[in-house]
Symmetry: C2
Subunit: 241 residues, 2 copies
């Protein structure tokens, strides 16, 4: 006998990035949804309570169940987290910053939900990656996000050179991030090894008071003062021609 | 003598996708900004008035200046549009659906703004591409958006096969769109030429009442009823292994 389809749904719930208030980047509908849910999959329970308050949850946490998702979570744990949907409960996958599943954990939860025919509903919210792409002035019809570059030399330099070459060939914007304490180093590497005509955009502290977004050719960056990106979340976009 | 830096800024203003109301996907801050601006770069003036109302502009249009951006716009036109920033006016780049510059025109406006040291401020809003990626359950640490696939055979099939191969090699999620009246055809092509173990996700009518998001392996899709995607905006994501 097959079990009936579950009717609970999986909501993908964004949270704020930067230091802006919720109304800057969280649509009112998200607040309605968050207050309707009592089951959440989160990265870290203690910070999740704070995040839920920040994005507008105003009820009591007494009736809220949090399930922790981290590198130790096994597939069978996540299967168990999704069990509540069988009783008709919706469940939220909460990001700690930005969008779940975009440079953020959670893809496996979504994949499992699909395999169980649980409806997946993405809510709208901020993403520093997406903001960086649209404000780069580069090709938004064709782009690739690479996540973190390799840490070591010469793998890092090789990856940058291959991104640059691919970008020139396919007119594809190349997007990547770095551990924030290595941002200045990456900036210097990019400016020193990329071609003078290659465009480089820097999106730093997106959605904060001191958001800094600039785009110049490598030759222009070489003549400019380098921005201080140390320990500031930054997204790098590159377009070669 | 160098001219002083302009103080007007360029806001990137998203609009709704699907048939959901504004509060579903537009943060309150965007409405504040839209009502503060009197200069907008738009795709089409008549629909722009409607879009502005939809996203919360509630003033009179008498004092609003719209500048049209289309395939006929020349660089000197856009330079002229941005002139108002020299008088301290902020200007908005308005999308007709979703985010400006993401599968949407406007990148050249942003590029020109950067070259003139005009601050570029991206606002948060919905994107069917981004929603498709996060709700695919696929790799969100590494993905590529290809825009439209080639229209003709065998270029289309070759592109799909090369995307699939690249995806398997680099564990990169491949994202593309099709002219809505050819969606069913593309779906059939994907299901027939991709490997059985390749994952395919379909995000159709995102942010509409009848939003449909599903992810299965090609072999599962072959056993399922094909979804009807005809003339419905759809984003396709593919991950090979």
């Amino acid at each position: 006998m097959s079990t009936p389809n579950p009717c609970g749904r999986l909501y993908l719930i964004p949270s704020m990035i930067g230091n802006c208030p919720a109304n800057y980047c969280i649509p009112p509908y998200n607040i309605q949804i968050v207050n309707r849910l009592s089951h959440f999959i989160v990265e870290e329970t203690s910070s999740a309570y704070r995040t839920l308050r920040h994005i507008g949850f105003n009820g009591s946490f007494d009736n809220v169940t949090l399930y922790q998702l981290n590198e130790h979570s096994r597939p069978e744990d996540i299967t168990e987290y999704l069990e509540c949907t069988k009783d008709g409960h919706d469940i939220g996958l909460l990001s700690e910053a930005g969008l779940p599943c975009l440079a953020d954990p959670g893809a496996y939860v979504v994949r499992l939900a699909h395999s169980k025919d649980i409806q997946v509903i993405p809510l709208t919210g901020p993403s520093s990656i997406v903001s960086a792409i649209i404000s780069s002035g580069m090709n938004g019809q064709c782009f690739a996000f690479h996540g973190y570059l390799p840490i070591k030399s010469p793998q890092k330099e090789n990856k940058i050179k291959s991104c640059e070459k691919y970008s020139a060939e396919f007119h594809q914007t190349q997007v990547f991030i770095e551990a924030p304490y290595r941002n200045n180093q990456l900036f210097n590497t990019l400016v020193s090894i990329c071609l003078p005509t290659t465009l480089l955009s820097i999106a730093c502290n997106v959605n904060s008071d001191d958001e800094y977004i600039a785009m110049k050719s490598i030759s222009e960056w070489r003549k400019s003062n380098a921005p201080d990106l140390h320990k500031k979340p930054t997204v790098f976009c590159l377009l070669a021609n």
